[in-house]
Amino acid sequence: MSVSQSPSGNYDAIIVGGGPVGAHVAKELVAKNKRVLMLEAGRAGGLTYQGYRSYVDTYYTRVIKDTNSPYPYNPSAPSPNDTDIVKIVKGTPDIIGYQVEMGPEAFGSTYLRQLGGTSLHWLGTTPRFCPNDFKLKTKYGRGVDWPLTYDELEPYYGQAEWSMGVSANKGDQEMHGIKFPRGYDYPMERIPMSYSDQVIGKAVKGKTVNFSGKDYPVQVSSLAQARNSIPRKGYTPVGAVGNPDVGQRCEGNGACIPICPVQAKYSALKTIAALLESPYFTLLAQAVVTKVTLGANGRVNGVEYVRYETEGLGPNATFTATATIYVLAGHAVENAKLLLASNVANKYNKEVGRNLMDHPFSYTWALAPQSMGSFRGPIQTSGIETLRDGDFRKDFAAFRTDVGNAGWDIVNYPPNGDVTEALGKNVFGKKLRSQLANTLPRQVRIGYDVEQLPEWKNCVEIDPTYKDALGCYRPIIKYDVSDYSWQAMVEAMKVSKVVFDALGIPTKDQHFHGRIAGVADSKHYTSPDGKRHPLNFIGAGHHIGTHRMGFTKSDSVVNSDQQSWDHDNLYVVGCGSMPTTGTANPTLTAVALALRSTKAMLGQLR
């Protein structure tokens, strides 16, 4: 289809955004023979096997292998990149790249605008939220409650796990009240825990940390992951798009972020490729939605979009598409941006774009006395999940502990620095080879995905000063982290201390706070006891909030069906709807919420 053409006809639903959430809404609607038009701002190059392989080659040749490095730069639908994120100088916005950052803290997370969305570069970690995450206010007096419970969402978690292809053992996941119905199991066996996970797990057995006067076990357990392993009865793994024999199992490529070369990791491309078989599904890529328009009755009556032929050059043409219901699934930041640009969903309050959250990610690292077998396997196969909930949440944030498999990865991006540094000291030949062999496999890195509370001042805004090549608004981010999360980062170091000591690592080889390479200087946090802690964090890529769901039209943008309080045929779906962050990587929950919302959508389309 050329840029001057637009699909005609009446659609039951228009879905804005071809990521995992939009793809799952489409899947459910198309299954009920509803006509769906999906508008994707980015390009659809990943739908052919060769196109996807070209991303792998691009990854190979990129000097900086950051989250979006394999994917082509697209000025007509730009994405934020890691290399654009710098320390914010007070009063001076960071205007590098696409995202405008006002601070006071740098919002160090990225996403990808391309068919498949950020699921192209995500890690694939898929834990469920804990039941108490849904009632933080009631249980711990912090943040807000969700307008739905774990039990209400539970069936959709199962559906999401089977649709995305999650590998896990039920027993590993049953904690903090996370329960499964009788007879349920994950579609595939758990991904084997790495050698280093096993060594750490053995070393910390029986060890505890004391939080707010209570002991909690430091226990290593297997993570639920959306990557293919050995299928259980009734499930067939989904391989690479266009080449399904490839990627039937995770092969330990060790590059989950930013790209699984064999597509053993789930991406929304798999769901969308299957949808393309249906006559009820129409995909239009390179179509950037610029406005949601309203009729006199206050209902949405169309979306305006620009199609571009060549990235950054045009020709471009503007169209309107219409349907019965409209589903914004463009990512927390993009959804908020579009609502703000359209001046909709703001009749009852000014919540659109507000309460932007992430899991601030702090990390620690050490050099073990023996080889840990680092740089092997998926980037992460296990975690310390025991501190995701507990009474301490009255005092400070909960966190998920990420036990890495890729050495000091984000600490200093090995092995380039290790090689050049050694050469600079005239270490070469066999000495160089053995020095690398005797250090890199000993690297251990433990990180923390820290819960963050909703705050009105943390937000996405727009301003005509900042627009992209297509004339669309660039998102303006204002972001800060409160003491609730900072204090958790300090407490989390106790966990690292337990692990490092248990591994017999000398104190001089234990490191608890970081200068973040290329991002910022060391920051400091002063805890209530007056102690000053050097501390730093980066983003986890978990954009949460911005169009949160709530109990009433005064406290939120959408209801528990992710339906706009203002416009009954508008749904705003994804991580942006989540009222709080919990500690779980949010994609699985976003997909489960989307699946649940399709019941309401189908009710409206009957």
Binding site: T61, R249, E251, G252, G373, F375, G377, L432, L436
Partner: protein, 144 residues
Amino acid sequence: MTGFSEAELHGTAMAKTYFALVPSIVGEALFGRLLAIWHDSWIRGKGDEPLLEQLVTDQILDDPDLGPIARNVASLWYLGMWFQLPAEWRNVHGAWANDVTFVVSPQSYTEALVWKAIHTHPPAAKQPGYGSWALPPVTTEDAS
């Protein structure tokens, strides 16, 4: 210079590429000098590891003109990458158009020897297979 055998270096199929690449960045004259001195060190130090090491350090690595180039040749083998030469070097020898930091090719990345040195594989290539990461790692002792 790399600590890998001739067979291992040839096995990467990158030798020709690198041999053509280096003079295209730093010029034939300097590259020729580097090769001549390397050859001289190699002949004189053959069979005497400490002597060879001393010769390479004195004649090449500590030489302000040749040292940075030699380090970059090692980086090519280890990382498949060329690093822009240090500012002091460029102050003397001028700016060479191709002297920027880059990964030579997809192949140079997948053939980078650092991964072999640390008993693993380059991320996103030469995958070891399902579940291999759960087994104890190969160590230098096993490998030799």
